[in-house]
């Protein structure tokens, strides 16, 4: 168990009160995505970092809250599409929900794909969010990242539940 009493992970999701632990699982996923982006080096260093998502996915509203947040020198902008293939090259980050990576195109240069399918990174996704019991962790396909010109820091690699390289 991660914490001494194992209560902690549960409390993180259920605690009431004003501290940072009072978050829903969706909020935690969005916070994890935001924090992952801080450890990613993109080949393009434009002023905006565009996060794209499908309208139908439950995480969309949470992702919209990242609008305007800073990642290094870049500011996040969130773009919402009806279909995932509409998420074209202007997206630096594409959140695809539970879509299988097999049904998706390979990430474009400078792009990362984030998904929640349990086999997402095994099937060519860049970053996977995986639930285990009450907690959320992430997995990484460093090979896919490398082929799209994106680099993950060693801190991120260490924190990942799984790294494919």
């Amino acid at each position: 168990m991660r914490c001494l009493t194992v209560l902690c992970g549960v409390l993180m999701l259920t605690a009431t009160g004003g501290n940072a632990a009072a978050q829903s699982k969706g909020d935690v996923k969005v916070a994890i995505i935001y924090n992952i982006l801080r450890f990613v080096t993109f080949p393009n260093n434009t002023a905006t970092l565009t996060v794209c998502a499908r309208r139908q996915d439950s995480l969309v509203e949470g992702l919209k809250s990242l609008e305007g947040r800073a990642v290094s020198t870049r500011k996040i902008t969130v773009a919402v599409y009806d279909k995932i293939d509409q998420a074209a090259n202007e997206c630096d980050v594409v959140y695809v929900g539970y879509a299988s990576a097999r049904t998706l195109q390979k990430p474009a240069r400078g792009q990362i794909l984030i998904g929640e399918d349990p086999s997402f990174v095994d099937q060519g996704g860049t970053v996977g969010l995986v639930s285990f019991g009450p907690q959320v962790r992430f997995t990484i396909n460093a090979r896919v990242a490398q082929s799209s010109g994106v680099r993950f820091s060693s801190q991120l690699m260490q924190l990942a539940a799984k790294v494919i390289s």
Partner: protein, 646 residues
Amino acid sequence: MSLEDLLSQEVTTASKKARPIGDSASAIYVINQDNIRRSAARTLTDLLRQVPGLEVFDLSSSGTSVSARGFSSRFASNLLVMVDGAAIYSTSISGMFWDQALMPLQDIERIEVIRGPGGALWGSNSINGVINVITKQSVDTQGLRASGLAGLRDARAELGYGTRLSDELGVRAYGTYRRSQGMKFSDGSNDHASWEGGLGGVRFDYAPTSKDSVVFLSEYSRGGFTQPYKGFAVGPTGVTFPISYVDNDFSSTHILSRWSHTASQSLTLAGQVYFNQLKREELGVLVARDLYDASFEGHWQAGARHEIGFGISGRISRDRIGGNNLFTLMKNNSNVDRIATGYLEDEFSLIPDRLRITLGSKFEHNNFSGSNIQPNARIFYRANDKLSMWAAISRAVRTPLLQERGVKATLETPFPLPGSGTLVPAISTVIGNPESKPEVLDSIEAGLWSSLGRGWIFDVAAFYNRYDDLASINLSSISPLFLAGFPFPVGLQTTAAFGNEAKGRSWGTEILLSGNLAPNWSMEASYSYLDLKIRPKTGFENMASPVITGGLSSHHQLRLKTAVDLDDRFEVSGALHYVSRSLDGLRPAYTDLGLRAEFQATPNIQIALSGSNLLKNKRLEYYQLNIPFPPNYVVRTGQLEIRTRF
């Protein structure tokens, strides 16, 4: 919240539930994965050296003294050490066999260290603090992870393979091997106290629902080491004190299972059982222990204002000590301790999120020192998001070790004569006292935590402790030592018994400042001060002397730690640690400088070069009179480490 905090959680040890450090009413420090990754630590105790206020002294390749707020000693047993919720300290001869804490460092998720009494939640033997090592879940360590370390005096290998067998079930198999050449004597020669050991284990994590999780782990470790022993020999030419070498070995089996359940939004429950078998043969004495422990605890959010924590536990410890007459059990071949405990705590919010009071106590009954109650009261006030304060008053106890209760020890030691310091042979017999009482601590603590902006944190804690019924050795007879063939006495023969004839008081502070000088440049500075006085109750120094004199601790400790990411592949870090001379003046002050550089060769291979104790050839960390071991010196060393993950 950082990514690491999101993935795991904040401090749990202080209140047995998740809570950010700035929201805790205790003196807490957390070693996180980033600290571990950037560290040149070879062992768990090396990692602990960075904790503000903690005293970590290497005695030999097989022994380390780790202590909080004083009481450094090879016999210290007032710091509770847990790995994944299981107490791993020994209650027979001394608190911890630190060299047997062999878990792979790469599998450690975080180490939470509380300075100050933890008795209200954790029970006896957490009188001066709690160290809680939390290892990673198997699902967090998927794939193959390996690290190899080769140093001038040490070598270590760690290996782990984790996989997800299904959406609900993960497993990790892991192992570690370490060897050390030992330390050096004062003249610079090797102490030839080599050490070698390894551990293998398997861990399953099962989460059948989002409300249930189960852990099962099983480990086996074994190893051996050489111990230099300074006895005496009497011959025609007089008395000599030769050093002899004794080969020793150890092994341990550990099986643990824990289930936790979220019954509702407001109620969480957890049950745990573990078995630990420990064997250690040192100087021909076998110390063996079978430990059975079961506990059940819960946390209940009772309305908007009350949070109730509760738990019960039972423990049976069967100890055997024997092999020669150095240490023998006085009564039977084995001794059985039975301990039952319960705790209840109410955290009451007077002003939600701003002011709360925590009242709690542990209740304990055992079959060797009776019942005890360990209450505490804590108050926490958050002035705003950037400033919080806390204060606590606690009573905690340390129940007597088996050695103090029922072991007869006979040691042949060189004894320094008072005044001249001339060594004479002595045969000292120390007899356990079945009437030994628990040591009692009354403690007042206060702390302040402040976020200074731009990621800078200022954290200060202060304490005043009064100890009563501290263990003592009460001299009952002293006589000349006659040996066959010598018409005159060649030394001294003493007999003493354990008692509780000492008391003490201490006060001190621990101050921490940490933050980032630049986005890629972190800095941490800490200073701690300790004043500790322990003395016999009667004032007759020659009849009763404290087992732990307190003299090995230091007034001042200063730590500086910094790390710079030069780019996304190169990083360098350094740590400076000053320890003032020991309170008894026997150990000089020392300053340790450690440097480390890491290069990420490929996305999954890191290579690091590091050195420690760079300012001097060797230093003495621990020195104690009246024990049959020569003082050993920590030496300058360098090492190369390669880590990989597939």
